[in-house]
């Protein structure tokens, strides 16, 4: 049997790089871990400590406010199902993870997208990095994060942020680049400062697209958060992983269904929010 023509010890390099990072930046990582854990615990407590009825009611009212009674009714039924199968506590842990991961992913992604939209070189660098991040199998991110952050919610969070970052950047860049060139020119032509053009013209007009990106970020976060159950991130993911390892069809279905209900809720809420943006509303109003 022939050996390979040559060997590229890429894996070793990456491994030693991660080892070097872990030891060199240990204080930094410890700090990040403490912060993230603190915020996560806080959100999880807010969502998980009050009784089911209180939290569910708030979420149902939210659904009613942003969309209407149909979504509110659907939400109520869905949440009753989650409570009924005993997954409410896990669902709230997962929701806390999703909220935090999405928030941080957007905090990084949207400014990066704006920068990429305004600068072609940035765009040229960012694009392949995003391709890499999106296509690398999601599990792989878990390995270095576990090395760096050990187990618990934080490695799952960090892996989720990396995995969910891409659509936030892409949709923001796309949305801003899609804004009618003439309207941006009009901003310049009347002497507006580029920063104001961004704030008053580009971002509002790009908002429907950016919101689609926000929706994608949340959906990706949710799917990754379940995978993160493998490294002890808690929530629904833990039960899904447990069901998998014990071949427990019932538990798997119940936890899986709770994920689906949560996903639909988050999707409809964000979609309704983007529909309510001034530009989306204005574009729906046309000459009768």
């Amino acid at each position: 049997m022939n050996g390979p023509l040559f060997t590229l010890p890429l894996g070793e390099w990456v491994a030693s790089f991660v080892r070097w990072m872990t030891s060199t930046f240990k204080p930094v990582f410890d700090f990040i871990k403490t912060i993230l854990e603190g915020i996560y615990d806080l959100i999880a407590a807010v969502l998980g400590e009050p009784p089911f009825v209180a939290v569910a009611l708030v979420l149902v009212i939210l659904a009613f406010l942003v969309k209407g009674w149909k979504l509110a009714l659907g939400t109520a039924i869905g949440f009753l199902v989650i409570e009924g199968v005993g997954q409410w506590g896990n669902a709230m842990d997962t929701l806390a993870l999703v909220i935090l991961a999405s928030f941080i992913a957007l905090l990084i992604g949207i400014p990066l997208g704006i920068w990429a939209a305004r600068n072609d070189s940035v765009s040229a660098v960012v694009r392949p990095v995003l391709d890499f991040m999106q296509t690398m199998p999601a599990f792989v991110y878990l390995i270095p994060t576990v090395v760096i952050f050990l187990t618990g919610a934080v490695p799952g969070l960090v892996a989720t942020i990396v995995f969910a970052l891409a659509p936030g950047v892409r949709f923001t860049e796309l949305g801003i680049r899609q804004v009618d060139k003439e309207v941006v020119e009009a901003g310049h032509a009347f002497g507006s400062h580029p920063r104001r053009i961004l704030r008053e013209i580009q971002l509002p007009l790009a908002l429907p697209t950016i919101m689609a990106g926000v929706n994608q970020v949340i959906m990706l976060s949710l799917s990754m958060v379940v995978i993160a159950g493998m490294v002890g991130a808690g929530g629904l993911g833990r039960d899904v992983v447990a069901a998998l390892s014990r071949v427990n069809v019932g538990l798997g279905f119940e936890a899986g269904l709770a994920v689906v209900i949560l996903a639909m809720y988050l999707d409809r809420i964000t979609a309704a929010l983007s529909d309510r943006s001034p530009v989306a509303r204005a574009l729906r109003t046309t000459v009768a």
């Binding site: 003439e182 009009a186 032509a189 009347f190 002497g191 104001r196 204005a282 000459v287």
Partner: protein, 426 residues
């Protein structure tokens, strides 16, 4: 002093622009420098006078959009100078440029470029918002602008609730709110239906006369250019090939390109009575006696003559039979026998306005100036002849140009068309 002075500006897109300019300067063609970049505007120079409507006309790709975008610094010229008063737009810094755009040059866009999520009023108030003017004050000013363009009461609507013509009125109102002396209009009416476009052109002329703005108007439509422009710059392949008034360009096209271009212009809207008229063959002061009148009529071999007063103001017409009668009754002058005759037309009447009066009468049309003095006449045959394209046009061999129906106006209203047909042999 001119409102805007453009001196030898070039715009070459691409990294090696300056090198391309150097080559173009030495006589290279646009194609020669293509490897260095796209030469959109080549060596353009012109002056725009205050209060003038200056039209830049050219087909797509001729560089006119690039040219207008350099006039407010949306694009920087690769070489050359654009003087706006003391400032040279080619070198001015970003803060000063924003200041110029706020105070001195505004723009109307082809596709209106309104903010879809803001009301019509807020769109019209946008320039003042940029300038940091308070909400109440800028809305009051915007309301005035909307009134000027005939959109009072529409302020609460969103742009998407308006028709195309109305949206462009908002675009115009927005530019008026900025209250700059110079107004750039980039194919501003090209996206509108022909009838609405016509309306907007009239409105622009009207506004220009009321407010005295300097307007620089870009269009690919020669009829529009001829109708609006005090002067027209014709662009081709990045260069300005001719600058002149509509009549100058029609009468004396600078080259084959311009001649071909004007071959199918709607002459009825461009040519004016003043360019068609000739001196009257016979013209009698009202004080002249019948004997002298008969003498002049027989000398001119005419059956009738126009009559003017001592200041040469048009009074009407006398017929030979009436003059004979007056001589028999011993009248001392012609005042008793003057008939109203054909209605006089003014010197700036368009050819299209001459059809109806010409159809009414066998006699030539009298042409009067603003003081109602008879300055010339237009025989009917001259009107028909003027409709045919220039015989000197190089395309004269092209049969499509010589066909009489090709020379007919293509977009005159139904009224004009009707008189043209019915005005024939009556």
């Amino acid at each position: 002093m001119s409102a805007l002075r453009v001196e030898n500006i070039y715009k070459v897109f691409g990294r090696r622009g300056p090198e391309a300019v150097r080559r173009l300067d030495q006589g290279a063609s646009r194609e020669d420098v293509a490897p260095l970049g796209t030469a959109a505007v080549i060596d353009a120079s012109f002056d725009v006078q205050p209060g003038e409507i200056f039209v830049v006309m050219g087909l797509s790709g001729s560089g006119k959009s690039t040219l207008i975008r350099m006039l407010n610094g949306l694009l920087r010229p690769t070489a050359g100078h654009i003087y706006l008063g003391e400032d040279d737009l080619a070198t001015v810094g970003p803060a000063a440029l924003r200041d110029i755009r706020q105070q001195r040059v505004s723009m109307v866009f082809q596709h209106f470029a309104l903010l879809p999520h803001r009301s019509v009023l807020d769109n019209a108030a946008y320039p003042l918002q940029v300038q940091g003017v308070g909400r109440t004050e800028r809305r009051a000013k915007a309301e005035e602008s909307l009134q000027m363009v005939g959109l009072e009461g529409w302020g609460d609507k969103l742009p998407s609730e308006l028709s195309g013509g109305m949206r462009q009125r908002v675009g115009l109102a927005r530019a008026l709110t900025a209250d700059t002396d110079i107004l750039l209009m980039d194919e501003a009416f090209s996206a509108l239906d022909p009838l609405i476009r016509r309306d907007m052109q009239e409105q622009l002329i009207d506004l220009q006369q009321r407010l005295g703005k300097t307007v620089i108007f870009i269009t690919h439509d020669l009829n529009e250019a001829m109708h609006l422009g005090d002067r027209i710059a014709v662009m081709r392949a990045g260069r300005i090939v001719q600058i002149g008034s509509a009549e100058e360009i029609l009468a004396d096209p600078a080259d084959d390109y311009v001649a071909r271009f004007i071959a199918d212009v709607d002459r009825t809207r461009v040519l004016q009575a003043s360019s068609l008229m000739r001196p009257p063959t016979v013209m009698l002061p009202v004080s002249s006696g019948p004997r002298r009148a008969l003498h002049e009529l027989s000398e001119a071999q005419m059956p009738a003559s126009f009559v003017v007063d001592r200041e040469r103001r048009f009074l009407g017409l006398v017929h030979d039979s009436d003059v004979l009668e007056a001589q028999r009754t011993g009248a001392s002058d012609l005042s008793g026998i003057v008939k109203p005759g054909p209605l006089p037309v003014s010197t700036d009447a368009n050819l299209s306005e001459l059809f109806a009066p010409a159809a009414e009468s066998q006699l030539p049309l009298p042409v009067v100036d603003e003081r109602h003095r008879l300055v010339g006449v237009i025989p009917r045959v001259s009107i028909l002849k003027a409709m045919a394209p220039n015989e000197s046009a190089p395309d004269a061999t092209d049969p499509t140009v010589n066909l009489p129906w090709e020379a007919e106006p293509t977009d005159v209203g139904p009224d004009d068309g009707a008189t043209l047909v019915s005005g024939g042999p009556r």
